[in-house]
């Protein structure tokens, strides 16, 4: 029958043509010379339509012969939890069903499926590789699940899940994690890896986003023209704050017992020093100070808001009042929320922060000053404080004010924020002072205000949708 399928011809010319393109050539060539705004609108609409149609047409959007997978790596202090999901479309499910049918009676019983899932999950232990600072880290299988769901043409699709853990031990508080998936890499489909950290571990660099893009292989981003093909991940982890939090928690035995890796679990064998050794108060304070600096330095929304406030101030005393009001307010809510005395209004915090930015941009653009700038900064500072509290809460975990280090940690975190804020103000103020005497300042200010307003609105939309 193979002789009948003659539709696919070879084409050397196109292969060779493609090879000639270096990245630079590609960039140069793909600059659209004829694309007009109208065309782009049409193309965008069509891209949406085509993508939606093709993705919505099937329960398995990438085709009936694909295998989708997702590896979620969660780093929780010195523990790594890996959840590995596989979602097989109809045709691979058919093949796997035959493999699962051990007694060849044409029916796969639940016991056969369970045995199949167990084998699958155990096989993965040899195919999923983890390294910390170049040293292999062994995974432990915790559990596995198997499920069948209805697919196209009265066929089924198979979903497998495996949960694994590993202990991350290294000599230093900063370590590089490498992950590699060697499980049937040749199969086509959605291949997603995401890496995120909780309880104070910082990911200072990562080749993979901290975001579940397919919602556990259930929703596929209709915008993407090519599914991700991620089989590896590299991340630089900073355990300093986690170590601080762990140390702090050691004073609260009930919490510490379940989270801290015991010094005997593999550490002796690996010859590694467990960094869960208690840190001094000054070391903890330094760790939280760095966490505060890191949070504000990478928190573009807070920075844009601050910039908007600086634009609003007409004089140095007014500027000092405004910045102080913002600082006092966010310190207040930060302390209240981090201590669980006040509960932040959940998912509304982040969109609300975005709205405060948009408002400051609007005030700058329309009224160009605010008679009650300090009060405005204070009010909005309260909202931003809840945002800072979210970051701090991740680090502190269940730790409460009963711990005497807690106040020091909170203050250190806040001082970290203020220090960076002060640095920014001290750079911006002289520049703004000089700029106000220039003829073009009015125009520049309008542009900057537009930028602040647009950024605020964009963040609001994105955060509301998310």
């Amino acid at each position: 029958m193979g002789a009948y399928d003659t539709a696919i011809w070879s084409s050397v010319r196109s292969d060779v043509r493609c090879r000639k393109g270096s990245q630079a050539v590609k960039r140069a060539n793909s600059v659209s010379s004829a694309a007009t705004v109208q065309r782009r609108v049409v193309a965008t609409c069509l891209a949406w339509l085509v993508a939606l149609c093709s993705f919505a047409a099937s329960a398995h959007p990438l085709g009936n012969n694909t295998v989708n997978r997702q590896a979620a790596l969660q780093i929780n202090a010195r523990t790594l939890q890996l959840r590995y999901l596989m979602d097989l479309a109809e045709i691979p499910t058919l093949f796997e069903t035959q493999k699962a049918d051990i007694d060849h009676d044409g029916v796969v019983s639940q016991q056969e499926w369970n045995a199949y899932a167990r084998q699958w999950a155990e096989r993965l232990l040899a195919q999923l590789h983890l390294e910390l600072d170049g040293r292999p880290v062994s995974l432990q299988l915790q559990s596995q699940r198997v499920g069948l769901q209805p697919g196209s043409a009265n066929l089924t699709i198979l979903r497998l899940e495996g949960d694994y853990t590993a202990t991350l031990l290294s000599d230093s508080n900063v370590a590089v994690l490498h992950y590699r998936d060697d499980h049937t890499p040749e199969l086509s489909g959605w291949k997603e890896v995401w890496v995120y950290a909780t309880n104070g571990t910082l990911i200072t660099r990562s080749t993979r986003p901290p975001k579940d893009r397919s919602r556990g292989l259930t929703q596929y981003d209709a915008y993407r023209t090519a599914p991700p093909n991620e089989l590896t991940a590299d991340a630089t982890l900073d355990f300093t704050a986690a170590a601080a939090a762990v140390t702090a928690r050691q004073d609260t035995p009930a919490v510490a017992a379940s989270r801290i890796p015991t010094p005997t679990t593999g550490a002796a064998a690996a010859g590694a020093t467990s960094s869960a050794a208690p840190l001094s108060m000054s070391q903890q304070a330094w760790a939280f100070f760095r966490l505060g600096v890191h949070h504000i330095a990478t928190g573009w929304d807070h920075l844009v808001f601050l910039f908007g406030l600086l634009l609003l101030a007409k004089s140095l005393p007014q500027l000092i009042k405004t910045v102080t009001a913002f600082t006092v307010a966010h310190s207040l809510t930060l302390a209240l929320a981090a201590n669980h005395w006040v509960t932040p209004p959940g998912p509304w915090v982040e969109p609300a922060i975005a709205l405060t930015i948009a408002y400051v941009g609007l005030v700058n653009l329309v009224w160009r000053s605010s008679a009650h700038g300090a009060w405005l900064a204070f009010g909005f500072g309260l909202v931003h404080g809840f945002g800072f509290a979210g970051a701090l809460a991740q680090t502190l975990g269940d730790q409460r004010s009963t711990d005497h280090h807690w106040l020091v940690n909170l203050l250190s975190f806040n001082i970290g924020i203020e220090a960076f804020q002060l640095l920014l103000v001290s750079v911006c103020v002289p520049v703004l002072h000089w700029a106000t005497s220039q003829l073009w300042f009015g125009t520049a200010r309008r542009f900057a205000s537009c930028g602040v307003l647009s950024a605020g609105l964009a963040w609001f939309l994105m955060r509301t949708i998310t």
Partner: protein, 425 residues
């Protein structure tokens, strides 16, 4: 047959020295796909990037035959042409015509290619796409003209030689086809670096021609050559399985089919594997493979594919769903009148008891004198059903002379029918 075997062996020895693994360009293609995907995500109106993205998908499709790549290429080509119309976007037109060809929408592909020929009448690529569509639609004379124009405007190339080879094979000139494929292979190997997929494809095609003329040793060498160049090339894996089955090495053949199916679940491979299991008495496993054939057919229907030649032939070979198989084949032949379509119609019509329709279709299937055992086997069985013993004897003898073990299930039936007709005489 002897002459062809000699020429095939010569071709093998000529190319054997140069057979070596070729580097894969899959990472390069992958990088292209991601680069242009990011680009069009940021700016869907960049039609040039859309065209390049479609081209990268088509390149990968040639290696994997994966529907996902076809969907990607079709999507990118469609957006590109919606952004900038074809008259000012010839690359968009080219990738769309190629995507249609891969999607087996040959009539649409032919129409687009014809437009392409009108717009750029001095470029071989226009004629290349045009000839491919015409070949699939059974318009062989026009296809030959198009290939002639390819050579006129682009000289002798891998692309022109492979198409000449196909035409030669269809016209019953298997030895010439083999020489053309050898030329194509030589040209491909002279490129720097030699492209892996086209080189493997030429080896595989040479294996197909050798097999169809009963040269099993030559076929096996060509398939092995393809697998050396491109390990796990699913077409060559299936070719190896086919030739090993013909040589009676069933266990090895099963292994090759399983590997081929792992790479690409072609229902034809599943059906052939099922047949081998059936011959070994492993009925449960055979049934599982047949179940896969039907499941894939159901999926094709759900995905909007209107006809399915492979399923029609499978039904006819296994005497199941014969009426539906005939309707499938007739539906396809109404829009695609190639000679293998005519043969599928003849074979399914015979199984459905429509001998007159089958005879008419069989005439069309043999109209070019293609030297393929399966065509003569079907014609022989049809003549037998129509009571024309002499013709049946001639056709069946010719089929078995060409390729004595052309199919593990059907060749013994041909031999039995021939024996019966001989005894009858």
């Amino acid at each position: 047959m002897i002459g062809l075997a000699l020429s095939s062996a010569a071709a093998v020895s000529a190319s054997e020295g140069s057979i070596k693994p070729l580097p894969s360009d899959e990472h390069e293609i992958e990088a292209d796909i991601h680069f242009y995907s990011d680009r069009v995500q940021r700016d869907p109106g960049d039609f040039n990037a859309q065209n390049r993205l479609a081209n990268a998908y088509l390149q990968r499709l040639r290696e994997t035959n994966n529907a996902e790549d076809l969907a990607g290429a079709t999507r990118a080509a469609r957006i590109s042409l919606a952004t900038v119309p074809a008259v000012r976007n010839l690359s968009g037109l080219i990738v769309q015509a190629q995507a249609l060809q891969f999607a087996h929408e040959f009539r649409n592909a032919r129409d687009l290619a014809q437009r392409l020929v009108q717009l750029i009448s001095n470029k071989p690529l226009s004629y290349e796409i045009f000839s491919d569509a015409l070949l699939e639609l059974g318009e062989y004379d026009k296809a030959a003209d198009a290939v002639h124009n390819m050579e006129r405007f682009g000289g002798i190339s891998v692309d022109s030689e492979t198409r000449q080879a196909r035409l030669a094979f269809l016209r019953g000139k298997a030895a010439l086809a083999q020489r053309r494929y050898t030329n194509a292979l030589s040209i491909a190997l002279q490129l720097n670096p030699p492209p892996r997929q086209p080189v493997a494809w030429c080896h595989w095609q040479m294996g197909e021609v050798a097999f169809s003329t009963g040269d099993y040793a030559g076929a096996q060498q060509h398939y092995r050559g393809a697998l050396t160049v491109f390990p796990d090339y699913y077409r060559a894996l299936a070719g190896m399985a086919k030739v090993l089955a013909a040589r009676g090495e069933t266990a090895e053949a099963i292994d090759y089919y399983r590997r081929a199916i792992e790479r690409f679940p072609d229902p034809a491979f599943a059906a052939a594997l099922g047949d081998l299991y059936h011959l070994q008495g492993r009925e449960n496993e055979a049934a599982s493979q047949y179940q896969i054939v039907r499941a894939i057919a159901r999926l094709n229907q759900v995905n909007g594919q209107l006809y399915n030649r492979q399923l029609a032939l499978f039904d006819a070979d296994h005497d199941s769903e014969t009426q539906e198989g005939y309707l499938n084949a007739a539906r396809e032949y109404a829009v695609r009148k190639d000679l293998y379509g005519a043969d599928a119609l003849a074979w399914t019509a015979l199984k459905a008891g429509k001998v007159a329709q089958a005879q008419e279709a069989s005439k069309q299937a043999l109209r070019l004198g293609t030297q393929d055992a399966i065509l003569y086997y079907h014609a022989g069985m049809l003549a037998r059903a129509a009571g024309d013993t002499a013709k049946s004897h001639a056709y069946l003898s010719h089929a078995l002379e060409l390729n004595p073990r052309f199919d593990p299930l059907q060749a013994p039936l041909a031999r039995r029918a021939l024996g019966e007709s001989t005894r009858g005489e």
